[in-house]
Amino acid sequence: MVDTMNGTIEVRWHGRGGQGAKSASAVLAEVLFGEGKYVQSFPEYGAERQGAPIRAYNRVSNRPIRRRCGVQNPDIVVVVDPTMVESANPSEGCADDAIYLVNTPEDAGSLRRRLGLADSARVLAVDATRITIEELGQNRPNAPILGALSRVFSDVPAETFADHFTKKMKSLSPKALEANRRAILRGREEATLA
């Protein structure tokens, strides 16, 4: 879906403090770094409290990245918390053909109508909360979100995300690791596109 051949891809994450949007942004950077890309991952630091809205960013490029300002015009927007679809104004600064990945039980078609996006926008919806409650017994939406992101960075297989996650989280029990792996792969499979 995206191509880093022609310039830098910019990602903006919307989440809530404690949900792991910052870590997800770091994992995305690590995976794409492992695929040979130049990457940045940085959160917007504000008051650090659980549940407060936070933003995090990525830049991905085939060339060294020089600019270090906040992302104003993201190519990809990830909404980690379903309650932020309206409150976070996810389409702020986006071009018409931006890609949206949203954690929501809603299907992608009705979500795109609700967001009032242009025809050229692409919307991926995944019920990451439900997947992780089923697989991990907890609402930790990062793993399925990352799995769904592997469809956006289409040259990176979901397995790469899963392998990286497993390597990074090696302090978890084998059972928890396996559950996370399933959550990542399910995120990729179950995401709907409109």
Partner: protein, 403 residues
């Protein structure tokens, strides 16, 4: 600044990892394995002592880590350990740096070669955790070397160079290695590290000239000196700073051979044939360089000059790079209320002796972490192209009454 991706995959020295400015500094400390670290953590430099304390606790280093009750005590312990003959490092930010202020000139006067991770953060009040240079700039006359880094890779490499620079017998001066709080300290990006053994060889061990613990050759530090000798001691100190540029060049050549990465005292980007040049420091430079590329495509001869070494100030190099330009803008990330901002003052001073008078426009930007975007840099270049000179500094990105 050659980047790793172009380098030979087979190079066994190659270890590229995702890290941040803070953690790159801590990794450099692990590899250097200093004798003493005394620190009192403060945002945004907290991760440096935090990560390093883990290395100490895990036995990865044999450093004596001194946990103290304030920044004033931290730097005081560093000075004591340094004059005793140890290799000493610490880190701080903002009001922590300000609390150390009393001790900085003492460290410099004792010729204590401390290497200090200064993670730039605005000085309160109001309390603000984000970046500007209002913490390091008040220390510019303290007698320390000040080097400002653009990214995490440069932070790492600069720590290595700074250990050698600080301890060089012709310099013997402490060094601030500055990086922008959060923007650099907390950005997660790839950094190429040297092998531990290469670091050990490059930094060697400290050979102190007059260690306090050498009981066979007793010396005294902190003694009383009236007007008959104080001036001479200060003059000696100034000579140490005057030797920095020569010694730095030698070390830089040695480091390029080891790492493939080179960091001149000033970083000239497309300045040779430029009509208009923006002068800036630290992490905001990348935005200016990107805008220079855009303007070049539009046929504008734009350039960017980054000042990396602020103390000692490389006036000769700056003059050579900026003489003959149509006009120059200087962007300061701190103010000198009631006077000319620190970088602009140095640039104007350096250009005073150039044969032609280059107009210098001053700007203040980014106080308290106010972001600096490509459109901001473009507006500055537009002012230069339109020759819209103003007396006094203009502000970038400041909210005005109707915003």
């Amino acid at each position: 600044m050659g980047h790793s991706a172009e380098r030979d995959e087979a190079d066994t020295n190659r270890r590229v990892e995702m890290t941040s400015g803070n953690l790159a500094f801590a990794e450099a400390m692990r590899q250097i394995n200093p004798d003493v670290v005394a620190a009192y953590p403060i945002t945004p430099s907290t991760e440096i002592p935090m990560r390093f304390a883990e290395y100490v606790a895990n036995g990865d280093v044999d450093t004596r880590y001194v946990a103290v009750e304030s920044e004033h005590s931290a730097i005081t312990a560093c000075v004591g350990a340094s004059v005793a003959g140890g290799r000493v490092m610490t880190a701080s930010s903002a009001n922590g740096v300000a609390l150390m202020h009393e001790i900085f000139p003492i460290a410099a006067s004792f010729r204590a070669p401390i290497v200090f991770g200064l993670v730039n953060r605005s000085l309160g009040a109001p309390v603000n955790i984000h970046c500007d240079h209002s913490d390091s700039m008040p220390e510019r006359d303290s007698g320390w070397v000040q080097i400002y880094c653009e990214d995490a890779q440069e932070v790492y490499d600069t720590v290595m160079l700074s250990v050698r620079l600080a301890e060089h017998p012709d310099v013997l001066t402490p060094v601030f290695v500055c990086q922008d709080g959060f923007i650099t300290s907390h950005c997660y990006e790839p950094v190429e590290f040297l092998q531990d053994e290469s670091v050990r060889q490059f930094v060697g061990t400290r050979e102190p000239r007059y260690p306090l613990l050498d009981v066979d050759n007793p010396v005294s530090y902190g003694s009383f000196t009236m007007s008959e000798h104080y001036f001479e001691i200060k003059r000696n100190q100034i000579e140490g700073l005057n030797n920095v540029s020569r010694v730095y060049r030698e070390l830089s050549d040695e480091y390029v051979a080891l790492s493939g990465r080179e960091y001149p005292m000033i970083d000239r980007y497309m300045t040779d044939d430029a009509d208009y040049v923006v002068v800036i420091m630290s992490s905001a430079t990348g935005v200016v360089k990107d805008v220079v590329d855009d303007l070049r495509r539009e046929g504008v001869r734009a350039g960017c000059l980054r000042v990396r070494m602020y103390r000692p100030f490389p006036s000769g190099e700056v003059r050579e790079a900026l003489s003959g330009k149509k006009c120059v803008a200087v962007l300061d990330r701190s103010a000198s209320p009631g006077g000319v901002a620190p970088l602009a003052a140095e640039i104007k001073s350096a250009l005073y002796m150039s044969p032609d008078r280059v107009p210098v426009f001053d700007y203040i930007f980014g106080l308290g972490g106010r972001d600096f975007f490509p459109d901001d840099a473009r507006r500055v270049f537009q002012d230069l192209m339109d020759m819209r000179y103003e007396d006094g500094a203009r502000y970038i990105g400041l909210l005005e009454e109707d915003d």
